[in-house]
Amino acid sequence: MANQPYLDCIRATLTASVCLQNFPSQIIERHNKPEVEAQTSAELLCAPVTISRNDKQMIHIETSVNSVRISVKVKQSDDTDRILCKKFMNFLNQRAEDFIILRRKPIEGYDISFLVTNFHTEQFYKHKLVDFVIQFMEDIDKEISAMKLAVNARARIVAVEYLKTFQV
């Protein structure tokens, strides 16, 4: 697929980003927060990386010592895409708890965000987490295209049936 170099680049960056460690907060005692969300100490955060295929499709990776935030901007070429994407993401975000690594709200400018913490990497294989994110990105594109085709097909059928009533 023409997408392959884009996905390979993302895979390499994510594999390096997901090297997290348990890090207790140095601001509040006895607390353990994902530093990428708290954003309190500059030295614990890495420079954010944006990998973009074109101006419509990109992925933003923010790493810190104990957490990674991955934000994806899904390809949306027209209004139908935008509506479908918005509804789909809304559906997923409401069930973020079952997804475990999904963030309830996407970061500004992106459609969906993941938050992976050191506790997730302790439970799951790192390379499977990365596989999941990449598979997810591929699946979303396929799903939205399929949904758009379905919507257009249905619209055509409905229009034909409706206009039949005006047939002379």
Binding site: T15, C19, P24, Q26, R30, L44, E122, K126
Partner: protein, 355 residues
């Protein structure tokens, strides 16, 4: 509860944060990534659980077992450190007032086992020694860090201490305790080394430093940082010394250990250990341990496996399981029994390596 070593692998828990051996390697202490410390007794290839120490409130981050005095030291995210002494078959804890207001990340005994250092998230190192008159452990702080101190190690001379921090620097300080330590004849960083938080040596790393260790003879200092490098500083000719950096093509190392003065074993997020050796003055990565021949699946069966995966998991690509002994990042390396090196990882396994 008894477990045996199978093929060099000991499965102890769901996850292990740290481990330590006693002086004669007959006992193993480790923390299963929660607030307890388990002590197992070794009989041949079998390990049997002897004690479970549950004094800490949060995850125990580091265990240090003094080989001569058999005193156990543990520190945890709950800002405390306990000194455990074995009396009548049970371990009695003594709380050490570290005077830190953040988590303790690593604890190490000094070579003479008369004092210990604790690296903490309070951006300082607490050096504690035993005061006879008051019958308790007194702590003194080494400040001058800009961020959490992740690792600390005593120089074999019992005076100097090296610290690693998430501000990307490794620093050398003096931990000279008046009345307890004899003034040193010579240290690589000068003869007059009072305890005053003065930075005797500072080395830059390109990222968070995870672990720092002095070589057994005290002439070299090695540290690994998050940019997947291992740096060795040679201070045989005195400070600041010659700095050599070895870049690896792997994921960052979490811990390192000096096997001898010219061999270091490092392990981390790649889930396997690497050997670095000093060949004619230049350090280089010489070996990757845990080299299993052959990938997870043969080429002949790849077509079959693609359809099998599609059917079972709904995925096209080959489902890869890690073909290393450790399935998650290796966080702690210690010298183990039978002249082997033991590594523990977040996957709950302890693996023995012949180096």
């Amino acid at each position: 509860m008894s477990v045996s070593v199978k093929d060099g692998v000991l499965s102890l828990a769901q996850s292990i944060s740290c481990h330590a051996w006693n002086g004669d390697f007959s006992r193993l202490a480790f923390c299963p990534n929660d607030n307890s410390v388990h002590i197992y007794k070794k009989t041949g290839n079998d390990y049997e659980r002897e004690h479970v120490l549950t004094e800490h409130d949060q995850t125990v981050t580091s265990i240090a077992w003094a080989s001569n005095s058999n005193t156990l030291l543990t520190c945890s995210h709950d800002r405390n450190a306990y000194v455990w002494v074995e009396q009548d078959g049970t371990w009695k804890p003594t709380l050490v007032i570290l005077r830190i207001n953040r988590a303790a990340l690593q604890v190490k005994w000094s070579p003479n086992e008369d004092k210990f250092a604790v690296a903490s998230g309070a951006k300082c190192v607490s050096v504690c020694h035993y005061e006879e008159d008051n019958d308790w452990w007194v702590s003194k702080h080494i400040k001058k860090h800009d961020s959490t101190v992740t690792s600390v190690d005593f120089h074999p001379g019992n005076i100097l201490v090296a610290t690693a921090s998430t501000d990307g620097k490794v620093r050398v300080f003096s931990a000279f305790i008046k009345g307890m330590d004899k003034r040193p004849e010579y240290t690589p960083f000068g003869k007059r080394v009072p305890f005053n938080s003065e930075v005797l040596g500072e080395y830059e790393a390109n990222g968070w430093v995870h672990s720092v260790r002095w070589s057994p003879d005290g002439n070299q200092l090695a540290f690994c940082s998050h940019d997947s490098t291992l740096t060795v500083v040679d201070v045989t000719q005195g400070a600041p010394g010659i700095v050599q950096t070895v870049k690896t093509q792997e994921l960052p190392l979490c811990d390192i250990f000096w096997v001898n003065d010219s061999k270091i074993i490092g392990a981390g997020h790649s889930c396997r250990p690497f050997i670095f050796e000093n060949q004619n003055g230049t350090w280089a990565e010489t070996q990757k341990l845990d080299d299993k021949k052959g990938g997870p699946q043969d080429n002949k069966r790849s077509a079959f496996s693609i359809f099998q995966n599609k059917d079972k998991m709904g995925q096209d690509n080959n489902v890869k399981t890690l073909n290393t002994k450790h399935k998650n990042a290796i966080t702690c390396i210690q010298r183990g029994p039978n002249n082997q090196i033991s590594t523990s990882s977040l996957d709950g396994q302890l693996v023995f390596w012949n180096v």
